[in-house]
């Protein structure tokens, strides 16, 4: 098939051709999704080296398992699911969420509810401060913020990818957002 045609082809067709050993089709998939896979891997592992290993492992696994793709999620979500599992296997170096999690009310207070939320907005206007705040969150927060806010994946697909209910996904997302604001606020207090 001509290269241009491959580039315009939907993911679902490319994965079918990949499963038959078509490397050109698979290369189009790699080009289309490598940044998203790397970003999620980086968000979970927090090191460039591990993220690169996860990137390679993800696409190797996907090529070998293309036959097994059933179309219950988009190809992008399928690839990100493989990447997530690989990244967690590589070891999560970042702080995990505390076992006894704080209440939403306390999180809200930490995030500036009832104090001075405008200073947080000012800090969020600076890209590097936002990056730093995101980077400093526990990996469960980073992964859900990357998937929902940065990759724009639907709530249902994120829930599927994380292996949780939609209700649990929404709760995790809300708490991750609050913790992001809390980080920005804390950085402000420390500045």
């Amino acid at each position: 098939m001509p290269a241009q045609q491959s580039k315009d082809e939907p993911d679902a067709e490319l994965i079918v051709r990949s499963s038959a050993g078509d490397r050109q089709a698979f290369e189009v998939l790699v080009s289309r999704h490598e940044q998203a896979v790397y970003r999620l891997a980086r968000a979970i592992t927090r090191t460039n080296e591990d993220a690169e290993d996860v990137l390679q492992e993800t696409f190797l696994s996907a090529f070998r398992a293309a036959e097994g793709y059933r179309g219950t999620a988009s190809v992008r979500t399928w690839l990100l699911t493989i990447a997530r599992h690989a990244a967690i296997r590589y070891g999560v170096r970042a702080a995990r969420l505390p076992t006894a999690d704080v209440s939403t009310e306390d999180l809200g207070l930490e995030a500036g509810w009832g104090s001075d939320p405008e200073t947080i907005v000012i800090r969020a206007q600076r890209e590097q401060l936002l990056k730093d705040a995101l980077e400093s969150l526990p990996f469960q927060d980073r992964e859900i913020l990357v998937l929902r806010e940065l990759e724009g994946i639907s709530g249902d697909e994120v829930a599927q990818l994380l292996g949780v209910s939609r209700t649990a996904m929404k709760s995790r997302l809300h708490r991750a957002r609050l913790r992001l604001l809390a980080k920005l606020k804390k950085e402000h207090a420390n500045a």
Binding site: E27, A36, L55, E105, G114, P117, A124, E127, L150
Partner: protein, 79 residues
Amino acid sequence: MAGISCFRVLDKLSDYLDGALDPDEVSQINEHVTACDECRRFGAAFSEVIQRLREHLGEAEPLDSHVRQRLRARLRAVG
């Protein structure tokens, strides 16, 4: 304050932002924030920060060319 509590508003902020509430709940929150300065200010900040996150970091940085090359070399090596 009449109607829903500040805690309820805080709890529902993400659903409000994501358009995941039914019209009655949206009305309740709108009514609350009209009268509650703290919730109105925090809700505005919450929404603004999430919007900034999407705008500033939404577009993934291009992969380092060496990372891309090593990935392709690894894939080529698979029989």
